[in-house]
Symmetry: D2
Subunit: 333 residues, 4 copies
């Protein structure tokens, strides 16, 4: 439910306007040099601040409250927590009667019979990804030792794929009190041949599971992805060019039969536009029983995709770290 | 690894040219009327036969060897097995030295240190999906009681989305000793509000996990999917139109915040062109240590996407049945 | 690893002398009235204070930092943390060179290559059971609605099973700077017929798994237990006396074939004497490479069994709550 | 539910009078030399035949139908099946109305709403342990490479612990148309320091989980076990005698803090007397609504404990193999 992973396992908790959000990371190898400061670079990348991101200001100060001793991981569960402070709960009271379209307000209420913490989206808030970014930063440390490097970046906003077009798309969305979606591409270099399992724990299956756990993600494709559906086999097949498995092209995105093939793992995720927009919308009002005008107050991102790359990296690191630790368990003979 | 699901859990086994392929299904509710015949309609849809599918002829006769007594499921694990018969193992011996591009031959050998059963792709074979189709047919029976209906269909082949264009694409691929990819769309009607979990067990996360467990799938998108990345929030948001959560549009594909919202669940999967093609390819030969010409023998599908819809339905049924059984566990008070 | 349960799942974290110990509880049904105060009665029972228990004084003040809103559980993960304060880390430095016999000092160091937090036993400390008691108290609330009542009590200390004998055994152990073991018996009333699974998730299997997760537990037996091994079938079999499954005797401890049979679930756990004793012991000194005299400093329980009943209850509640939520998922038709 | 293990995972299926019973073993390392013959020694030990065991004669011929190729394991799921043949289903029809005391008849019917396969105990039958013995024999092969040896033996029958007494106890039970229980002790030599986890996946927790999954087991104790509850710390603590962790005594049964300490792992399981006895019993008759005389027909073991040692070994091997594969995943630095 709120935990994920087999050997490197994370458990998330918290709400947007609760006291703490955080993560418990089980399975971190002992002896990894680590301090709260090591998490800050990635947390800063997740943070709001740039044009197109929310005005909510949070310190996002990570506190490691277990699992580190004398500057090293101990092998015991590692817990990172963050304090919520800049909360304006009053902003959300109206949404109980009139759930925001495109948001989890309605389903949360139905699923939990009206007992959900509705303030700021409660447990559905993007703030929960703080813990994920922290766990990802730790996983990256473990993966460094294996020679794995992960990098995600925005490749498209509002249909534009050049910098000027992307910037214009965000600015126009802000001007229109609207929001806009985007695409994030992620590459993992240095993954050896043999991670993943056929069928249910294929690299694609587990990575996509993690990606679709990120709020606002609505599509995931590996290598040529949907374009592969329009290709011929003779065009899509990646000819092997060397004994280490290096292929001439990488339409497979580094994965065959669900198993890493030694080439870079490449995939893209589609991020929908932020559901919360200031622009008035027509939607059902449960208090009046009629479709009604809704103006969403609160502070929101005009383009949530801008904050997603570091979360995609974190989820990728969590998944690959799990595969790395499991792979170590496969004896060579 | 080779099992999937929490309350409705499947474990698959078998190889293309082994003795049996099959599936163990744990968690089937007791008392469901079921015989081997009930599985045959879906198995027939998966079967080769149409133009563009392999010439390998298998009876695909399901044998239920546990879990059914007196025509009803018993509550104990239900096992379905299939005998392999039309196997021509000699066809594959060459592939040990020269792994097929786009196929799992190379990674299987590396992952399992050369001990993998390489005949017909071994455990990576599409034949393993026989069990999945069987487990899906059983899950559909359980879901019927909940009023859930699942339907998947080909919407695109080789870039064409009309019947004539799709047929032409397949015929041209056959004529060229090549293969071609396609897109399958799946709809699940009747899913109530509230299935799925925020984050790690979101409906999207678990469904995509299952979809990417199907060989040849390289992309999955829900609702507007990748198109959502090019939309504005005001356009993408689905206005709620009634107290039951019905929305005017369904860009979200029936899922908000990872939870089903009562509207039809809609998603598409991209299927790559079959890796095995008769057309000569250049790829690495481990015997000679050089890039070399490869002609793949054996019998293959020119368009594997044609056989995928029933597998997508089966995987969807397996996932939704799991959610249905878990949802029953959420007390209303 | 540090998490347990399928539908009611707990994840523990913390070290004896770290900043926080705590637990994340996933799967708590929404709408259960709950405050931190509701946890205090059970926490007080776990607390030191009585004769025979450690002199370490901790506030053990539970802080619910997620999952509760407006005095009710929300359905999202519920997290309870406790601050460590009365820590005297200096007491433990010597134990790195000379691990205490009967304790985890040696194995922790070996398992985690010397990076373990050795202060006060680190993650192996009994303090981690604080979270378990909290999660158990919450589970009891859920079980109350099902009519299930759990009660554990000391039945034996140092071989004595009467109150005076038990007290004398503890006093003598203290006088001798030694420690003493005991037996705890637990009864769960009101469990309906049908919880548990044949084989791997039998009620006995899952309960014993939880019991042996409690530090110092070395034996678990259900119903007649080891005595059953000395009985005849005609004597051990519990004759069914009524249509609801009530049996005349309860040698089975309320479980047949791994499934609850409607009678009280009864089991006993053996608790070994506290490993840490002030009395000098001979054991290996890794600094000198020789067997050497060890005097364990620090504050310890002369009879840890005295504090175990509430932990046994908590673990039982966690297990039964999981079964209850899973059982709700078994449709009657 | 019917599967167990994390890296070496087994899934069982079958019924006493169904077509096949079997097991799917996922996670078997590739390259282990294995044939069906290698399973026969352990299967023979499980088999009926000795005095005090059932007259049902089954070939128990193992068929490996997946996961082995060219005499070696392939890395893919390994499946072993057994055909049921000597079934006399007529023997059991009466038990629907009058469930046997001490048996799963009543709970199976209630749990599965009357749809359970009641013939021969259905899925609750000891025949399901055939697969477990097979999976154990495979696990032993993997453990051999790690230098781990497992041995279980009967230490007590009907209270007697010498050979003559045990034999007399069985003979007397047979003469009385009754049954008798026993105790099995198991030792695992060669387990290195560091397997297992603190708390939920302690060696004791996981081993006991497996042991209580064996039908008829009602107690499990490690090392001094229940006797430890009567000991002083100064007596129970095992002094470390050498740098490799060897202790002078082994009251802990080779486990401290849930982690293996390098000494032999030693534990005992209590096996209750067989529930099915020919001697008349009084128990509830659901057809008449009254307590009534029951004479159990069918062929049964007078002392099921006699057949348990090899099953205890198998379960131990399954658990330790899982730990071994997981431990390999813990990088040394």
């Amino acid at each position: 439910m709120n935990s994920f992973g087999r050997r490197y396992r994370v458990s998330i908790f918290g709400e947007s306007h609760g006291e703490l959000v955080g993560i418990v990371v089980d399975g971190v190898p002992a002896g990894v040099a680590l301090s709260a400061d090591d998490l800050k670079e990635d947390l800063a990348r997740r943070k709001a601040g740039a044009k197109g991101t929310t005005a909510r200001k949070e310190a996002d100060e990570p506190m490691i409250v277990s699992g580190v001793f004398g500057g090293r991981t101990t092998g015991a569960p590692l817990t990172v927590v963050f304090r919520n402070s800049d909360t304006r709960s009053g902003d959300y009271a109206d949404l109980v009667a009139q759930p925001r379209p495109g948001h989890a307000d309605f389903v949360a209420r139905e699923k939990w019979h009206g007992w959900n913490d509705y303030r700021g989206g409660g447990h559905f808030s993007g703030r929960i990804t703080l813990g994920i970014v922290a766990a990802g930063a730790i996983a990256k440390r473990v993966l460094e030792r294996e020679g794995v490097q992960i990098e995600a970046r925005i490749t498209e906003i509002g249909g534009a794929s050049d910098a000027a077009g992307m910037e214009a798309a965000v600015e126009q969305a802000i001007a229109d009190q609207d929001s806009v979606g985007g695409v994030v591409e992620c590459t993992a270099d240095g993954v050896p041949v043999g991670w993943g399992e056929p069928f249910f724990d294929s690299v694609e299956a587990v990575l996509s599971h993690a990606m679709f756990s990120i709020p606002a993600v609505k599509g995931v494709e590996f290598g040529a992805g949907f374009e592969a559906a329009r290709m011929r086999g003779s065009e899509h097949n990646d000819p092997i060019a060397a004994a280490d498995g290096t292929t001439r092209t990488n339409h497979a995105g580094g994965i065959n039969g669900g198993i890493s093939n030694g080439n870079p793992i490449v995939f893209r995720v589609a991020v929908k536009p932020t559901a919360s927009i200031s622009r008035p919308q027509e939607t059902f009002n449960f208090a009046t029983g009629e479709v009604d005008r809704l103006v969403v107050r609160g502070r929101h991102d005009a383009c949530i995709a801008l904050r997603v790359p570091v979360i995609v990296e974190a989820m990728t690191a969590i998944v690959l770290c799990d595969f790395a630790l499991l792979a170590a368990a496969e004896p060579a003979k």
